[in-house]
Symmetry: C2
Subunit: 194 residues, 2 copies
């Protein structure tokens, strides 16, 4: 395997997390998504519940609200500290062993390594809605709200911390529409590219 690390950025409801987990299983390598939360908590000294809510989705209300959040004596906000801890955990994981890392701007955090395959998974709205309704047992209207809200927060976080545009093809080695290609095909293409 010439690529040791696979990062997967994904639209909410596109099945990106599931595809990443399947790829990790098939390659017999570690998979990190929620597993990282405990490590970020340890690194930052903050509660796992706080990390879970904030690590990938802050600044929650965009950069204006963010500009006025509490900061410590060095000018760092709590959100910056969480991000710093997340960054350190991801750099350490990549150093340690081959793995799949879901979200958390890992593509950008690992940009100086040449053994990383950056993947972006997106999908069509009808299929994403259907998936969210099934997984979260919710109405179509609520699924649409969840998709719009979570992707907006992921985008704001990504654009703020990376100075790149979330979802722009040029950031990733491989972008796949999981609704059009199917999950199996997405997995086989990713495996073919590592």
């Amino acid at each position: 395997m010439t690529k040791r690390i696979i990062t997967i950025s994904r639209e909410f409801g596109s099945g990106g997390r599931f595809i990443g987990e399947e790829v990790a299983n098939k390659l017999g390598i570690k998979y990190y998504d929620k597993e990282i939360i405990g490590q970020i908590a340890k690194e930052s000294g903050l509660a796992p519940e706080y990390i879970k809510e904030n690590a990938e989705l802050s600044p929650k209300k965009g950069i204006f609200a963010y500009a006025f959040t509490g900061r410590d004596i060095t000018g760092k906000s709590v959100e910056d500290m969480v991000y710093e801890a997340q960054r350190k955990v991801i750099l350490d994981l990549a150093e340690k062993e081959p793995c799949v890392i879901i979200g958390r701007n890992a593509d950008y955090i690992l940009k100086d390594r040449d053994d990383v395959l950056n993947v972006y998974i997106h999908g069509d709205m009808p299929e994403k809605i259907q998936r969210i309704c099934k997984l979260h047992n919710t109405s179509e209207a609520d699924a649409v709200k969840m998709i719009n809200d979570i992707d907006k927060r992921r985008m704001t976080n990504y654009n703020f911390y990376t100075d790149q545009k979330w979802g722009k093809a040029a950031n990733y080695t491989l972008c796949l529409n999981s609704s059009k290609l199917g999950y199996d095909k997405c997995e086989s293409i990713i495996i073919e590219c590592v």
Copy 2:
């Protein structure tokens, strides 16, 4: 083959045109890039030289300059007429036979068909510069200028006529970094997906 038509959008210097031609050869289907120019000329009644210069790259100086170009009695500019002719030619080609179509917003023009695979090929700057220097026998500085100028014009044209953002992963089924994956791998992934 469940997908009869392959559209390839590409950054200048990414080898997208070359990859498209190779895919067409391997699949034994038609390939359209400059070949379309004669048909657009016939359809629009304008000279092939004019089409060559304007069909994919107008409005040349952005939408403000575009707003003040000459228009006929119906309010259509010459550029609009070229685009209309191009649109008709691409719709007819897709109806007629399986093929690969390079650029010309074909992904958007064919959006109502379900037998189209939309691909976007991009690359890293050093590899793109190297390719342009070799193909056009030019200096690195001139290659950078060509890349920036041509991609800006392609982007302006795409964004103006499609109301989508050029290079946004969500527009395409498959986006591939040809510098990182190599041309052969790009070709095999595309063939695997049709």
